[in-house]
């Protein structure tokens, strides 16, 4: 059943696949991001309570969703790296972590900018805000562990374990607004039943969520390709991709 997946354990095959996918992801990311942000920031109606200030939702919510989505993807890669010991998966950890950390930072910053005029404070130690901050520290911790060892395999292993343990934080972030009373309001769209947002505002929001997914994917693909080249630089396929002569040939010329 999983047989079709086996060739991609080889970095060469998955590099080719990612290279083919990259332009599609990049183009659709730019197009959807432009459309959804212009639609959301300029054309969607203002909110009855918050006026125009609510428009930051078109950046805040997608960034927050994909800060968690990227973490989940990273944890799956960590599981594959630990159990099946596929090196491409462990490089994916290093490729995803900075992108996810950036999404988390965007969510935290836009949240603070939104919180000041609406709630009256930049930051409050409520369960939702704190657990999202912990997610940021988890990303930074995974990244630090990955590069903390001289032996790259040991680093990847340690980072993978932390990434898997940190997955516990995802349900805590999502349900924090239900389990405890918080300053942050409850879920608007990621819940069962009808989203509690008017349709005119919902469509640009859904499009911006798609746009941020594509942006996240594009950045991860770009980083993962680089990781592959970096780690396989001594292999002929990587040198062929980069258009450099194999070092063997160079040394032969020198000796002659």
């Amino acid at each position: 059943m999983w047989r079709w997946l086996h060739p991609y354990a080889k970095a060469e095959a998955s590099y080719r696949l990612l290279s083919r996918l990259l332009p599609w992801f990049a183009c659709s990311a730019v197009v959807t991001l432009l459309i959804s942000l212009v639609w959301g920031l300029a054309f969607a109606p203002a909110d009855y309570q918050q006026g125009d200030s609510y428009r930051i939702i078109y950046i805040h919510v997608p960034a927050a969703i994909w800060s968690m989505g990227a973490y989940f993807g990273m944890a799956i890669m960590a599981l594959i790296a630990l159990v099946w010991q596929i090196r491409t998966a462990s490089w994916a950890i290093a490729a995803i972590a900075p992108v996810g950390a950036a999404m988390t930072a965007i969510a935290l910053l836009t949240g603070a900018i939104w919180g000041k005029p609406m709630w009256g404070t930049w930051w409050e130690w409520d369960a939702r805000l704190t657990s999202e901050l912990i997610l940021f520290f988890l990303y930074v911790g995974v990244l630090a562990l990955y590069f903390a060892f001289d032996d790259q395999k040991a680093g990847a292993k340690a980072a993978a374990i932390l990434a898997i343990v940190g997955v516990i934080n995802l349900p805590i972030i999502h349900f924090s607004v239900e389990w405890w009373n918080t300053l942050h309001q409850g879920a608007t769209i990621t819940k069962f039943g009808r989203p509690s947002i008017a349709n005119d505002m919902l469509w640009p929001l859904l499009l911006s969520i798609l746009a941020f997914a594509l942006v996240t994917a594009t950045l991860i693909i770009m980083r993962l390709r680089n990781e592959m080249l970096f780690n396989e630089i001594h292999r002929p396929w990587a040198q062929a991709e980069l258009g450099v002569n194999p070092p063997v040939a160079v040394s032969q010329q020198e000796t002659r």
């Binding site: 009855y48 005029p117 609406m118 009256g120 409050e124 997955v167 389990w179 009373n181 409850g186």
Partner: protein, 163 residues
């Protein structure tokens, strides 16, 4: 799946289950401390299984809906007092300062301050909560009967209704 992979998978899932159990026990034990605020009912009737009532002089946060018609402003100073409810008992909040833009009667707020008597709080900070509903003003007027008035463009005809 070969035995080595199986062993590693078992180890990883045991690790995950163990950490999840530890985390949930910890969060369960800390439940009351993770709550950002007391609700008026919890403040007056006690919180949790022990029905623990916070003592007078304690610093705490209280969160609830501002009772309609309970906001009293001092005409001379910035002092304001209002009552909070969550459907049960009422708690009076005294505050001096500028209230957030979203503050209005019927709105959820969170106030931080010192408990001065069983159901009175001297607040040093008042934050506004907003709900998860977003809609344009015309729709809000239809569904909720709320008229949105831009505070910068209040004309005489709507100044009375424009809260």
């Amino acid at each position: 799946m070969n035995p080595r992979r199986k062993k590693r998978l078992t180890l990883v899932s045991m690790l995950l289950v163990g950490v999840a159990a530890a985390a949930s026990l910890m969060l369960y034990a800390l439940t009351q401390n993770i709550d950002l605020f007391y609700t008026p009912t919890e403040l007056v009737e006690g919180k949790g299984k022990q029905q623990q009532v916070p003592s007078v002089g304690q610093r705490l946060r209280i969160g609830g809906m501002v009772v309609e018609g309970s906001v009293k402003r001092d005409p001379e100073t910035l002092k304001v007092s209002f009552q909070l409810t969550d459907g049960g008992p009422l708690v009076t909040v005294n505050y001096q300062g500028i209230l957030p833009d979203l503050f209005r009667e019927g709105q959820g707020i969170v106030a931080q301050g010192v408990l001065t008597s069983a159901n009175e709080v001297d607040a040093s900070e008042v934050l506004a909560k907003h709900d998860e509903e977003y809609m344009p003003p015309e729709l809000a007027e239809q569904i909720k009967g709320i008229r949105h008035v831009n505070p910068n463009q209040v004309d005489d005809s709507s100044s009375g209704a424009g809260r």
